[in-house]
């Protein structure tokens, strides 16, 4: 499977610490009421992308996350079970995955297909496969938003991710605009559905000359980290092979810069 990347946007909280809600309101003049930090993070990445590239209203939108919006789950349960208060309407609405997709679609002016996909394994690659299968039929372009919010309770997020207690988790939102056509593309990405054992991966890579980056599950980690790695390689004009891992299985992404 092969796709072309037309543009991208990147934000990672350990590299740039900003007040996202304030930026959305002041710089981008967005109405941030009734939304939470997870939605704000998604919207911030969307606005960074919108500044750089043309978004078509028929573009498809995929939003993916490793653990979803943990904050809002904690908030609703605390309110109902600890404070014995009625559930707030917009906390309920923000619990649902497609709420984030709705706000992003509205901000980007997209009315095409709109999917929120989540998995705590191979999150980015699996969503890429879904996106590819869809636009291979529709022949449209697609925007992929990969989002993970690290906020309180960090301890719970680490347990959900299955990472060590001393591993630092960060927030990240990374977008790419994908197309089936090469025109004006800045990178080409190849991937497939196959997963491999460690020995198989070693065998595949033994005669390889391209830079290889292995997935890490420690130090400034978030589950959609591969999306950040892809964007970083594009920024640095690099060709890379990225190896993502989950338990004892591995999947490969090959990125070739076309800049």
């Amino acid at each position: 499977m092969k796709l072309y990347i037309k543009d991208y946007s990147t934000y990672k909280s350990d590299e740039e610490d900003i007040d996202i809600k304030k930026t959305l309101k002041q710089k981008y003049k967005l109405d941030t009421r009734r939304q939470d930090a997870f939605i704000h993070l998604g919207l911030y990445g969307a606005m960074l992308l919108k500044e750089k590239t043309v978004i078509d209203k028929d573009d498809e939108l995929y939003v993916t996350s490793g653990i979803g919006n943990v904050d809002v789950v904690q908030k609703t349960n605390t309110r109902v079970y600890e404070q014995n208060q009625p559930l707030k309407l917009f906390d309920f609405i923000n619990l649902l995955g497609n709420t984030t997709s709705y706000y992003i679609a509205s901000a980007l002016g997209i009315s095409g297909k709109n999917i929120f996909q989540i998995s705590d394994n191979f999150t980015f690659i699996n969503t890429l496969i879904s996106l590819y299968a869809s636009i291979n039929h529709s022949q449209k372009n697609a925007i992929l938003c990969s989002i993970d919010l690290a906020s309180t309770p960090n301890e719970v997020i680490k347990r959900v991710l299955g990472v060590d207690e001393d591993c630092s988790v960060v927030s990240g939102v990374n977008y790419q605009k994908f197309s089936l056509t090469k025109d004006d593309a800045i990178a080409e990405i190849e991937f497939d559905t196959l997963s491999y054992s460690f020995d198989e991966i070693n065998n595949i890579l033994k005669d390889n000359n391209t830079k290889v980056i292995f997935s890490k599950r420690c130090d400034n980690f978030f589950e959609t980290y591969p999306s950040y790695i892809i964007n970083d390689a594009i920024k640095n004009d690099e060709d890379i092979i990225f190896v993502d891992s989950f338990e004892d299985r591995y999947k490969i992404l090959k990125l070739k810069s076309l800049k």
């Binding site: 349960n77 009625p86 559930l87 997709s101």
Partner: protein, 364 residues
């Protein structure tokens, strides 16, 4: 590449697939009146009889595997559609301990149910779709597209949501929760019934003697409003039209529309308008949510299974509870209609203008 629906099973408030179809044709709603979730306010809810959602998932999945041509799921992709995933167990722990300290992280997030099934059945790969009430319908859309590009040969689509306070109180906060069994398309309807179900379908690229075909899929997002559909019904029409085109069928080929039909004022008004504009009076329409309630993320899969059964039984389901039809320009039968049924459109719509339609048909 064609996508075949080869095996399926359900557990919902009306029982398994057989019990559900008997209830639909007998016009016997399985919705019960509950007073435990909201103080001093009865709610119509669709409750299953079970111990916990994880055991139901394992049991229904085992039944589908046993009836299939597979020995195991080692070469099968799992796509699970759920609106709130493991929220039910999460709430139970929080309720008893008032904090998150002892929450099992493997049963916490939105893809909890997927993780559980992967560990129990060793799937080749998995993913979860969470688009609220279109979740498992979108899982079916994805399954068809993945088979189209020959990415997988076997895909297990699961729709699952367990009843929990977050959804019951949430829909109550929205002012759309009915205090009685819901009345889709009726002038007197006063809202929906939150319900729970597990609905599982094995989609394959090979045909068996009992196959139904997942002929077409369509999805749109009108992004009109966070909770209300486009009043001109553009999004709903677009998803139905796209699904029918994808199936390479014409409007005349559709015998029945299994409507989303939640019985909320906004949904039924707009969906009826969409069907009227697209089909005029030429197709039978009913909503089986009058029997099951609204099973949220499971609704797309459960109604796809009902559609398969309607084709097999050659009986169009009647509209349970209908007395005063609001939009009389669509054809809603009050009694079962015996006829040859070849193609069915099944609709699922969700918050944020997320619209999904599928076409299920008899194999030719």
């Amino acid at each position: 590449m064609k996508s075949y629906i080869n095996n399926y099973e359900v557990l919902c408030d009306a029982g398994d697939t057989k019990g559900l179809m008997q209830a639909i044709y007998a016009k016997k709603s399985a919705v019960s009146i509950d007073v435990s979730y909201i103080k001093d306010r009865p709610s119509g809810l669709g409750k299953m009889h079970y111990d916990n959602i994880f055991n139901v998932l394992k049991d229904v999945t085992s039944k589908v595997l046993k009836a299939s041509n597979l020995e195991n799921f080692k070469d099968t992709l799992l796509i699970l559609g759920s609106s709130v995933g493991g929220m039910q167990e999460c709430e139970d722990i929080f309720y008893s301990q008032k904090n998150y300290k002892n929450i099992n992280p493997n049963r916490y997030s939105m893809n909890t149910l997927t993780d559980y099934l992967c560990k129990e059945f060793d799937f080749y790969d998995s993913r979860a779709i969470s688009t609220a009430c279109t979740s498992s319908a979108n899982a079916l859309v994805l399954a068809k597209r993945l088979i189209d590009v020959e990415a997988y040969e076997n895909i297990l689509v699961v729709g699952a949501d367990g009843l929990c306070a977050s959804t019951v109180l949430g829909f109550h906060a929205l002012g759309v929760l009915s205090d009685k069994p819901c009345l889709p398309f009726d002038k007197e309807r006063n809202g929906m019934n939150v319900a729970e179900a597990v609905a599982i379908m094995l989609i394959q690229n090979t045909k068996t003697k009992d196959s139904m075909e997942l002929k077409g899929v369509g999805a749109s997002s009108d992004a009109y409003h966070m909770t209300n559909p486009d009043p001109e019904a553009g999004g709903a029409m677009s998803s139905m039209r796209d699904a029918i085109n994808d199936a390479k069928l014409s409007l005349d080929d559709i015998d029945y529309v299994n409507a989303h039909g939640t019985a909320t004022p906004a949904n039924d008004r707009v969906e009826a308008l969409a069907i009227e504009k697209l089909f005029a009076n030429d197709v039978y329409v009913s909503s089986t949510k009058a029997i099951t309630g609204h099973t949220l993320g499971a609704a797309g899969a459960i109604e796809a299974i009902i559609s398969c059964e309607v084709i097999k039984n050659s009986i169009i389901p009647p509209q349970t509870g209908l007395q005063n039809q609001e939009n009389t320009n669509i054809n809603i039968p009050k009694e079962s209609i015996e006829m040859s049924v070849k193609n069915i459109v099944s609709n699922s719509f969700a918050f944020g203008g997320n619209n999904t339609s599928i076409v299920v048909g008899a194999c030719v």
